[in-house]
Amino acid sequence: MAEPAKSSLKVFRFDPDRDREPHFDTFEVPQREGLTVLEALFDILETQDGSLAFRYACRGAVCGSCAMYINGAYRLACQTQVAAFSSGELTVGPMPHFPVIKDLAVDMTEFFRKYERIMPFLVAQSAPPEKERVQTPEAREAIDEMVDCILCGCCYSSCPTVWTDKEYLGPAALTKAYRFLADSRDEAAGERLSIVAGGDGIWRCHTIFNCAEACPKRINPTWSIQQLKRKSALRRLSSWLIRSST
């Protein structure tokens, strides 16, 4: 019987503690129907190189652990089939602009630090009612898209402002901020708007839409950021109007 056809994976390798510079290793992986990049990486791990490092968990595109840079695009390795690339050749790298821990595993510390700055939690001054807070289905649907975020970091990694501005909050955190601002139950609109409208926030977004293209869950962070800009401008305008009328 003929050998099964193989795909070729060029994989980014770097151990900051030992290597001076990153390099790529090429592995040949037998093709099979529906083979995902994540499975191919496990195949390499088990049959060729046990020292390859990458993050993984659910393999069903809900945990956001295996976000990588595959053939020039942000993708979840578990959701990307090797056969999607007809050339049979793949280049697999870590998400750019994150510090590399080793190989494909990146350090998400800064990402989460910025995420925490926007107060990513519901703030309700009033004590919770005995049962649920009433919310119309329409109000619930208004934030349906933003709720889908799996915090994989793709949008953050793709954003040119993030690359150049160390403190820029980034698309994921800002989308989350909008998710709470648009939540009919939240009562911290003022505080949250002050955070996102500060020097590290929404006005640094140049609407390049890289984030929307990068998102594996098809969320459009730029849209959320635009909504924040509008809310922030309105708030400034109204406070100016109030001040000038008194």
Binding site: Q79, K131, Q135
Partner: protein, 582 residues
């Protein structure tokens, strides 16, 4: 080795673990959560789709009594009624907690939380957030943990519980990120380490679900029960191979999806659609009803049909497949083609994307191929009503606990269980921690010993066998011999095979072990947990010479009510039946 101290150590960062930490924080105890990956990403909670059961419906009027009866009836005589009573009574309150923390549940009339009906339930009792309920609950708990600034250590794999004088006083853990041991000394410990699906080759669980909690509890000397009760979810994906086992939520059937077996005409139509799509054309609308396919659940449970108890649907599907009424990939089909496409896209959006992205299937036009997949370990650590295990200063909550779901877990009861018992465990652990003196220092010596033992394994690999090979071998054995249909000879073979794998494992080392994210180390430490857990499952299954709940024996196909000997308990390597609550 690094040393840490905690008042309340929480092992596991899924739904139960985070809820426990929040409850401990409510009591002003300092909790420390350890997570095997990045917090919130590796447990089963974020992957749970269907929902959360709470008897809150007013129209029609549901009741906790009805929820109690449904849960007990499903449990096949193995559920501990005291624990089930707590589950059903507190599920609504804990649901409102989540809503108060910010969770966005889908809404129905009057802006109140909407509910859907899932299998084996008398009422529409399952609250949901579309079909990504677990993800929403997980995000909410993560947000609450961040709001409270509760400390979390990521990438810590629990190696063993540390005991001194019969009391659990912390845990030795391995830091995957920094390739170092971390010894955590605690006043009280909460085990919330989740399930063990990865001991089977086809499972809904994430890669991290390797039965760590059961093994940790067993090695420390805690009492376990019902380990033969393994739930195989009726519907997992079968195609393509790389997503085999990934959950297709029960909500699909809850929303009105039908199960069909596969006729040659249907197979031909499926193949034709594949060809169309390969050629870049749109697939044809394909309702299995038009191709002579049979809604086979009519034969197995004519009343409840697709919404029968999970074990019944699972065995029905397994039988259809075994008898050849299946697709080329070995599945039956689940179809929502007859439902309004808008409803499908709205209520089942995750399922739509899942099939589009992984299998290029538009579920509003084409049926989904599905087959059973290992889903939930219903057995686990025995706890009392305050989540105390049989060991002092060790509490447990979430999937790692046994005795609640008995022989068959109802869909929607696991998310509720995690919240209800998580909150109790956190509260009780905090109370004990406040009353306790300073942490016990003996742990240092035993932790050091363990770390030295492990160090002896480092660099000793490089032989033919690697930990991942033992893992694969074990998965093969558990899938073929300790699966949906079991018998005496198969189970004996499994027990022997596991013994052999244990022997082989003694010879296995770790190639390097000093690198971050070193898969050999992770595999090694996981296999060290998977083997003893799997062994207890096989031995418990051997001991139950009848069929009950999810444990089906082809050599004893009926339940033996006349000679019912109770639950099967496990302590160390011993297993025995006993009537404690059953």
């Amino acid at each position: 080795m690094i040393l840490r101290e905690a008042e309340v150590l929480v092992i596991g960062a899924g739904g139960a673990g985070l809820r426990a930490a929040i409850a401990a924080d409510d009591m002003k105890a300092k909790a420390l959560i350890i997570s095997k990956s990045l917090m919130g990403k590796s447990g089963c909670t974020p992957m749970a789709e269907g929902g959360y059961n709470a008897a809150i419906s007013k129209e029609p009027e549901d009741s906790v009594e009805s929820h109690f009866e449904d849960t007990m009836a499903s449990g096949g005589g193995l559920s501990n009624p005291d624990l089930v009573r707590i589950l059903v009574a507190q599920a609504p309150r804990r649901l409102y907690d989540l809503e108060g923390f910010g969770a966005l549940f889908s809404r129905g009339g009057g802006g109140l939380i909407a509910q859907r009906k899932m299998g084996a339930q008398s009422f529409a009792r399952t609250c949901y957030a579309g079909d990504r309920t677990g993800h929403e609950i997980m995000m909410t708990l993560l947000e609450e943990v961040r709001r409270r600034d509760i400390e979390v250590l990521n990438y810590l794999l629990a190696v063993d519980l540390m005991t001194s004088g019969g009391r659990v006083c912390g845990a030795l853990t391995y830091d995957i990120r920094h390739a170092d041991f971390v010894l955590i000394q605690s006043k009280v410990t909460i085990l919330a380490a989740g399930g063990g699906g990865k001991c089977w080759s086809v499972t809904t669980n994430s890669h991290q679900g390797t039965g760590d909690g059961y093994a940790l509890a067993a090695r420390a000397g805690a009492l376990l029960c019902d380990l033969e009760q393994i739930q195989f979810h009726p519907t997992g994906m079968v195609y393509p191979d790389s997503v085999k086992g990934v959950l297709v939520t029960e909500a699909v059937r809850g929303e009105g999806g039908y199960l069909y077996n596969v006729t040659p005409q249907l197979q031909e139509a499926i193949d034709q659609n594949i060809r169309l799509k390969r050629g870049g054309d749109k697939p044809r609308r394909l309702d299995p009803e038009d191709f002579g396919a049979e809604r086979f659940m009519c034969r197995y449970d004519p009343q409840r049909l697709e919404l029968a108890k999970r074990d019944i649907v699972t065995r029905a599907i397994a039988r259809e497949i075994l008898e050849g009424r299946c697709s080329g990939s070995g599945g039956v089909v689940l179809s929502v083609v007859h439902l309004a496409p808008d409803l499908v896209r709205d209520r089942l959006s995750t399922t739509c994307k899942q099939f589009q992205d992984f299998a290029s299937i538009d579920i509003t036009l084409e049926p989904m191929e599905v087959a059973p997949t290992m889903h939930h370990v219903m057995g686990g650590a025995v706890i009392d009503e305050e989540c105390r295990t049989s060991l002092k200063s060790l509490y447990a909550c979430g999937e790692v606990v046994g005795g609640i779901h008995g022989g068959n877990r109802i869909g929607g009861n696991a998310l509720a269980e995690g919240q209800v018992f998580g909150a109790i465990a956190g509260q009780m652990a905090a109370e004990e921690a406040r009353a306790a003196g300073p942490a016990n220092g003996d742990i240092l010596r035993s932790g050091d010993e363990m770390a030295r033992w492990f160090a002896s394994k480092l660099g000793s690999g490089g032989g033919k066998s690697r930990p991942c090979h033992i893992k694969r071998g074990l998965q093969e054995v558990m899938t073929t011999r300790v699966g949906i249909v079991r018998d005496e000879s198969g189970l004996r073979e499994a027990a022997d095979a596991i013994d052999n794998l244990e022997e082989e494992f003694q010879q296995v080392g770790v190639r390097d072990g000093r690198l971050p994210f070193d898969q050999d180390v992770i595999d090694y430490l996981e296999v060290r947990n998977m083997l003893p857990f799997s062994k207890l499952v096989a031995r418990s299954a051997l001991l139950r010479r009848e069929s009950r709940g999810s444990h089906y024996r082809s050599d004893f196909p009926d339940s033996d009510e006349a000679d019912f000997s109770g639950n099967i308990f496990a302590l160390g390597e011993e297993v025995w039946p006993e009537k404690k609550w059953s």
